[in-house]
């Protein structure tokens, strides 16, 4: 897909907007995960705002829509922000995250919020759901695609590999995974906690086609998803190398920000950074 400079500028602005939404939501909620949602802002922007995804915010349950399955449910603030900004539900509702009576549960609950197809939280469950959807679509000769957003930490779950084996056996080429390879999990860096590498070779051994990209390069993300659609008879794993906490200096590469929300002071600092693109442009406030 050819992206004009103007479109790219808009997409980068949207990614910054989604990151701001995430910080504001987490501040309001006083709990939640910071690093993952910030790190995946560019991937969600590419998915929901480049036109690559075949969904209709006004008809969220449209039968022939592409499916987006979030497996690492704890990064849902970024999914919620993307859905709201794409028009699936009012942006004001984002502030209800994790509050009593909200449709924006701390981890996603399927069926109550437009655009959220699966409940997730216990890791790797989304992998099997995505594979099941892709298999059913093949049974019925449906043209829609299944996208699954997965974390790298959840590659430690056995279920991940059960699902990978099944998808490989059945050559589910309507299935594309986007793995957030940010190298952190709650207890530290993945390679210290329980090494995952070589991930590419592992998936290839399971019969997948694997692409590795910079998960903050929006044109590269779009290209990879386009490329995935052209792959025949293999499920596709796009390993998105991301920086946890991307966009907020004091959160970047810090495992301690995996499962923590910012306080007022930290949130203001983060928002200032995001609005000035880490000091590269002058702040409106200054």
């Amino acid at each position: 897909m050819l992206i004009t400079d103007k479109k790219l500028k808009e997409l980068n602005e949207m990614a910054a907007q989604l990151r701001c939404d995430v910080i504001e939501m987490l501040l309001e909620a006083k709990s939640g995960h910071s690093a993952g949602p910030l790190g995946m802002a560019d991937v969600f922007t590419a998915l929901y705002f480049s036109g690559i995804l075949n969904v209709d915010p006004k008809n969220p349950n449209w039968e022939d829509r592409d499916r987006v399955i979030l497996s690492n449910g704890h990064i849902c603030p970024i999914h919620y922000a993307a859905l709201a900004r794409a028009g699936f539900f009012p942006v004001e509702e984002l502030k209800t995250l994790r509050k009593f009576g909200s449709r924006l549960q701390g981890h996603p609950h399927a069926g109550i919020l437009p655009g959220i197809d699966n409940s997730s939280g216990p890791l790797s469950q989304g992998s099997s759901i995505a594979v099941g959807l892709a298999y059913a679509a093949k049974m019925d000769h449906k043209k829609w695609q299944v996208y699954c957003i997965a974390g790298d930490g959840e590659q430690q779950e056995g279920q991940t590999w059960e699902a990978a084996m099944f998808a490989g056996k059945h050559k589910l080429d309507n299935l594309t995974f986007l793995m957030d390879r940010n190298n952190i999990q709650i207890d530290g860096f993945t390679e210290d906690v329980m090494p995952l590498e070589p991930l590419k070779e592992k998936y290839e051994a399971f019969g997948w086609h694997v692409l590795e990209i910079d998960g903050h390069n929006i044109p590269a993300i779009i290209d990879a998803i386009e490329h995935a659609k052209s792959i025949y008879e293999e499920p596709v794993m796009i390993i998105c190398h991301t920086i946890p906490g991307k966009g907020v200096d004091f959160m970047e590469w810090k495992p301690e920000w995996h499962g923590k929300a910012p306080n007022q002071e930290e949130a203001l600092k983060a928002l200032k950074e995001l609005r000035t693109l880490q000091g590269r442009i002058s702040s409106e406030a200054e």
Partner: protein, 328 residues
């Protein structure tokens, strides 16, 4: 007195009453469900002959999914397929499903209210020689505590067939429990079956024996023998553990004033516990529980094990007499 309205098997007390495993009823029901609705699909984790899902595979090879020995993935696949409009039935042994994939059942299926039908075969100590690892004795406890999930333990192959068809028509997650061995056919094609509607198999006034699964036959035999001793026992087929037919259970407690529950399952958290919850809240009466008493099973002949673990006809009779003594 046997309830004539239910059109039970007239040969129910004959020594040569026809015997058939409940899982056979599942296989037959699944094929019928598949004929009635093209959305029905079946998934099995490497034991399709044993769970009888092979009968469906033979009838509808394109709608059968072999998942390999991967029960967690099987549950998730089913959730995904349900989200695409299918009506998936997942089958393996109860010790693995819901035993091994309970988290996937809880979140991928029940929290999302996905239209998945979960079946646990080889439930109960009556599995026999395979031993404790393969005798599912906790499945009722761990399924009935999950919101949105219907839990059914049919009493014979014919009722299992009807329960399978009812599960296919019901929209939402359902758990069905089967046994391994051949067990007496108690019902007929004309016996009614409705999810959540218990059946009074035998009328009585002194004690109500509330059972589920094939052990109901022992309950009926016990009731016949008790009648010879002047004790009239009501026998209830409480096939739907959730949502439970509270009305029938409370009425039985009011009429008889004493209850014996019978199940091939751990007493803790099982059908009897569910009955106790209903009665404790609404009409407390003495209850005796027949089932596994916080023990693992072991290898042996099924009937030998049922007797050894206190679930035989005589144990039920003893429990009935004991609970009648406890009436104030």
């Amino acid at each position: 007195m046997i309830n004539k309205n239910l059109k039970l098997n007239p040969k129910i007390f004959d020594p040569d009453v026809e015997q058939k495993p409940t899982r056979d009823g599942y296989g037959e029901g699944l094929v019928l469900a598949g004929q009635k609705d093209s959305r029905v699909v079946a998934l099995c984790a490497d034991i399709s002959d044993s769970t009888r899902s092979a009968m469906f595979q033979k009838a509808f090879p394109d709608r059968f999914v072999e998942t390999g020995i991967a029960e967690q993935n099987m549950m998730g696949l089913a959730a995904g397929m349900a989200m695409a409009g299918k009506i998936p039935f997942v089958s393996t042994y109860a010790v693995f499903c819901p035993g091994r994939n309970w988290d996937q059942l809880r979140v991928s299926v029940c929290y999302s209210n996905a239209n998945v039908k979960i079946t646990g075969a080889h439930a109960g100590v009556s599995v026999g020689p395979d031993g404790a690892t393969h005798q599912g004795l906790e499945d009722i406890a761990i399924t009935r505590c999950i919101p949105n999930l219907v839990v059914i333990a049919p009493c014979d192959a014919i009722e299992t067939k009807k329960a399978t068809l009812a599960a296919a028509e019901y929209v939402g997650p359902v758990y069905l429990r089967f046994a391994r061995e051949k067990t007496p056919i108690m019902t007929t094609e004309d016996t009614p079956f409705e999810i959540g509607k218990a059946l009074v198999f035998r009328e009585g006034k002194d004690v109500a024996i509330i059972g589920c699964g094939p052990l109901l036959h022992n309950a009926l035999l016990a009731a016949e023998e008790l009648a010879k001793e002047g004790i009239e026992a009501m026998v209830i087929n409480n096939h739907t553990i959730k949502p439970m037919d509270k009305k029938t259970i409370i009425e039985a407690a009011k009429k008889c004033g004493a209850i014996v529950t019978v199940e091939d399952h751990q007493v803790m958290g099982g059908m009897g516990s569910a009955v106790a919850e209903v009665l404790a809240e609404n009409f407390p009466v003495p209850i005796e529980f027949i089932g596994m008493k916080d023990k693992f099973g072991e290898s042996g002949d099924p009937n030998e094990l049922i007797e050894a673990f206190g679930m035989g006809k005589n144990a039920i009779k003893e429990a009935a007499k004991k609970v009648i003594q406890r009436k104030k």
